[in-house]
Symmetry: C2
Amino acid sequence: MVQYRQSVLDAAFVALADSTRRGVLERLGRSEASITDLADGFHMTLTGMSKHVRVLEYAGLVTTEKVGRVRHCRIGTRRLEEVAAWIKRYQELWDARFSALDEIVEDLKRQEKIDERTQH
Amino acid sequence: MVQYRQSVLDAAFVALADSTRRGVLERLGRSEASITDLADGFHMTLTGMSKHVRVLEYAGLVTTEKVGRVRHCRIGTRRLEEVAAWIKRYQELWDARFSALDEIVEDLKRQEKIDERTQH
DNA sequence: CCGATACTGAACCATATAGTTCAGTATCTA
DNA sequence: TAGATACTGAACTATATGGTTCAGTATCGG
């Protein structure tokens, strides 16, 4: 289970690491498209685009359906929410870390003031 | 092919695509650490971890400071917010797309009702 | 000063990735 | 039915990636 979730999350991050694939997601955000549409739009062979779409589909970021000759691609399930959740969690850790630093800085400032007063 | 990463955003996504590097970010979320600390924690050579840290630093996700022999690594600037912003934007497109589909479905339902009525 | 520690750089290796071409297969259309 | 269209799979190329070892260099502690 944990292994599964880890690998799914990993697949999503890997899929998002490529700028062409992020572009495809944006494109599909506007309307569904065929492999041909996408290949044209990104100046790439059908085969190349087909691979990108498969990576996105594996990661759960798009879904596809073949109707006759045409594979219709559309934006996928809620998988991206897992990526967003990871980032949110990281940001929380990170905010906490910065808060801790802030406190240290505040302590130092307070200490300075005490030093000032005791020196005069 | 020649993957020159024009954008900082791309570097961040690429950095996040590796699960070890995401682990390092989580680890640094708890406290700062040296290369040695991280290498030990992730069962990896110093050289290997050094490379990961450099990737994270290039992406602006961590900052480092060398004090004497030791390189202190800590969680970086607000760079991750750009990643979060991209995802948010994508999710908006995507919600809009689903809303549009919902409307179509609603239209179809209405049409069915009309058909029913006109057939009787 | 000497030895241990902490890292860095270069070279290397195996595998993964992004792309191609070419040769199909299946489906639509005239 | 013939030909165009839409895709798929296999094989191949070039480069990137994640890791290693080994040989330094710089710094710390006794």
